[in-house]
Amino acid sequence: MTEDIDMQTEPKDTDWVCVNSTDGFSFLVRRKVAYASGTMRNMLDTESNYAEASTRTCTIYQRGIIVEKLLEYMAFRAHYESVGPKEEIPVHEFMERIPPEIVLELLLAADYQEM
């Protein structure tokens, strides 16, 4: 073996992170996106040495549809958080994409994920 793959490289924003739901869905997102959630940021903090950090896999104990919506928000946030002050954040449009049936569940999940 000439090239060892070092598992403990410096975390980069462009790393891929795997996010699992309880009902078997897996999502791959950039680390930057995952960091939009405070809870997930702590999970993936390489200094804390959690299993999540070393395997770069997080499990959100929610249904797939909730996890999907969470990740949608995280991507939305990661994208719009860095835009200039002039640019309008289409919050309203995002809210329209949240189906009211899942809003309570989503609230709990969001509360847990600190976002």
Partner: protein, 624 residues
């Protein structure tokens, strides 16, 4: 009024006349002067003061005569009829202070518009000549009435027909011929131009530069730096907004279980968004328990609604219920007959009578915990003991301003039933005395499991020996912080002699006198079972005493040793890993929270362990 410099729309002709300094009044006056002269010449016999009113017309007539007969003929009659009304004209013209009349005059004067315009046009030409003849002395006398400000045209000459520079002109005042220059000015009243001496004499400086058109002040040219904090909306807040939107359509939100409802209510409270609309989400007639951690936004009416929509509640816990007033509390009294547990934080507004009425209607009250009430007094405590004493097991009167020895004596009557398990009388406005507290312990101490008497700063070692030591024997949790009279020796002997089984939680923080004797004694007594220990501010406690925590703290979960000066990295290491020098000093394997605020000997190298949160490490090191 013209003085206001407010003008309505004017015709081009009027503008022109004004620009050349010709006013209707001047014309009238000139006409009248002329007429007067004529009248006098004619020997009319009219009184000179009555003349002017007619004279204008007469003057008009005189001039109209040149133009044509018809208008003058008809108008003469009309004006003759009006003549009496013009009596004031002269007064007006001469005194110039009866302004309403004056305006009326002007309006009247302009009524026969066509004819008068004609007249004006003609008179304009005439007037110039006349003025030059110098017959306007009386006009000078009336100057106060005239609009003084120099019009632009005076300077620029663009409005009036100022003769070209270098030509000759006769001065309007002194009639001398002079050379028109750049600085030549228009005569202020009436037409014509002034020679240099006259211009100077009239008080205006011919060399004065026309006031530069006032520059519009640059409207806020400097960039106003505004700091708009861009707060990205959290997903939770969006969800709450959506819930608000759909709150009337509960089905759309899906089914909520009881557990979830609790979690959702917590999430809403955490975001401080629990409003009266949201609160209905958690109401149900079958509810037996309800906890809101933030009721700041629930108005008294909403709290009444809460009581009415959850009539079967037995447990009610409301934090920050500052809006709970008498009316709302009365609904609790009337609508919640099954209530046995009531926990309120901040019921400031409820009055004594309402508390008493509540107790009288709830004889099966088991748990009554309030924090912060300046009104709760002896009468309330009497009612509480009388009505609920037989069932009461938990009582918290924390931060109750009126707590005193008399209240304690009243509470001692609870000893009759020996039911009280939990008592919290912490942080009163004024401390109760040793004697009253010892008496209270004597009455109710036997069954107590939880006791909090913090900030009763008059309590001494005597209370420990005679109160706790003698009467309390089943305690599990003890809080006695902020009691400065306690001494190291007193606490040592108290724990050495106390018959009580080991405690689970001890909070003796902020008792500065306690130290190296009290801690080992405490650990010997309770160490084996102790889960939570707070010895914050035991400043003198020695390193050896602190190390003993490692010997006993097998069950320890939370430890606060803030401001204990002898705590250092090695002490912490002994707690975490045990001390190999002593057999059986296994440390505190279950420790999850360690607070070491203000421990100056702790450095950044403070040992850490998985599963343990250490708060208060200051990482700056002074390098000598």
């Amino acid at each position: 009024m013209r003085r206001n410099n407010v003008r309505g729309p004017t015709s081009a002709l009027t503008e022109y006349l004004k620009a050349s300094g010709i006013r209707a009044r001047h014309i009238n006056r000139r006409g009248s002067n002329l007429n007067r002269g004529q009248n006098e010449q004619n020997g009319d016999g009219d009184a000179p003061d009555a003349g002017p009113s007619n004279s204008r017309e007469a003057g008009d007539e005189a001039e109209d005569g040149e133009a044509g007969e018809e208008p003058s003929a008809t108008r003469t009659n009309a004006t003759r009829r009006r003549a009496s009304g013009y009596n004031s004209d002269e007064l007006d013209a001469s005194e110039g202070d009866e302004e309403p009349e004056k305006t009326g005059n002007k309006r009247k004067g302009s009524k026969p518009a066509v004819a008068q315009q004609k007249a004006k046009e003609k008179e304009k030409a005439k007037a110039k000549k006349k003025v030059k003849k110098g017959d306007d002395e009386d006009e000078d006398g009336e100057e106060e009435d005239v609009y003084h400000a120099l019009s632009k045209s005076l300077w620029s000459g663009s409005g009036s027909s100022k003769p070209p520079v270098g030509s000759f002109e006769n001065c309007a005042k002194c009639e001398k011929q002079f050379t028109v220059t750049k600085y030549t000015m228009v005569a202020n009243p009436g037409p014509g131009f002034l020679c240099h001496p006259c211009a100077k004499a009239s008080g205006t400086d011919p060399f004065k530069k026309p006031a530069a058109p006032r520059k519009k002040r640059p409207t806020e040219k400097r960039a106003v730096v505004s700091f708009e904090e861009r707060k990205f909306p959290t997903l939770a807040s969006m969800c709450i907004d959506l819930i608000t939107k759909h709150i009337d359509d509960v089905e759309a939100l899906g089914d909520i279980g009881t557990l979830n409802a609790q979690a959702i209510s917590k999430a809403l409270s955490r975001n401080r968004k629990l409003t009266s609309e949201h609160a209905t989400l958690f109401y149900h007639v079958s509810n037996t328990s309800l906890t809101f951690h933030d009721t700041t936004d629930l108005a008294p009416a909403a709290l009444s609604t809460l009581a009415r929509l959850n009539p079967n509640l037995t447990h009610l816990h409301l934090d920050y219920c500052g809006q709970l007033n008498n009316a709302a509390f009365d609904t609790f009294t009337d609508s919640l007959p099954h209530l046995t547990h009531l926990i309120l934080l901040g019921p400031f507004l409820v009055h004594t009578e309402n508390w008493q009425r509540f107790f009288s209607t709830h004889p099966s009250l088991e748990c009554f915990q309030i924090t912060q009430s300046p009104r709760f007094d002896l009468a309330c405590i009497k009612a509480l003991v009388r009505h609920c004493g037989a069932s009461l097991t938990e009582l918290r009167l924390k931060q109750v301003g009126k707590l005193d020895d008399a209240c304690l004596n009243e509470l001692a009557k609870l000893g009759e039933w020996q039911k009280l398990r939990m008592l919290d009388l912490s942080e009163p406005s004024a401390s109760c005395s040793d004697e009253a507290m010892i008496e209270l312990m004597g009455a109710i101490g036997r069954e107590l499991r939880v006791l909090n008497l913090s900030k009763h700063n008059l309590l001494t070692d005597t209370f420990l020996e005679d109160g706790l030591g003698r009467h309390v024997s089943q305690l599990e949790r003890l809080s006695l912080n902020h009691i400065p009279e306690l001494t190291d020796d007193g606490v040592e002997s108290f724990f050495t002699d106390w018959a009580n089984p080991p405690l689970v939680e001890i909070d003796l923080s902020r008792n500065h006198e306690l130290g190296s004797k009290a801690l080992p004694s405490l650990l010997k007594h309770s160490g084996k079972m102790l889960e939570i220990l707070n010895i914050n501010s035991w400043k003198e406690v020695s390193e050896d005493a602190l190390n003993e925590i490692a010997a006993y703290g097998r069950e320890l979960r939370k430890l606060d040793v803030g401001w204990c000066r002898q705590v250092d990295n090695f002490v912490v290491k002994a707690w975490l890993d045990g001390n190999p020098d002593h057999e059986g000093w296994t440390g505190c394997p279950k420790l999850t929270e360690l607070k070491i605020w203000g421990c100056n000997r702790i450095t950044a190298a403070c040992p850490r362990k998985k599963g343990l949160s250490i708060y208060g490490v200051e990482s700056q090191e002074v390098i000598i």
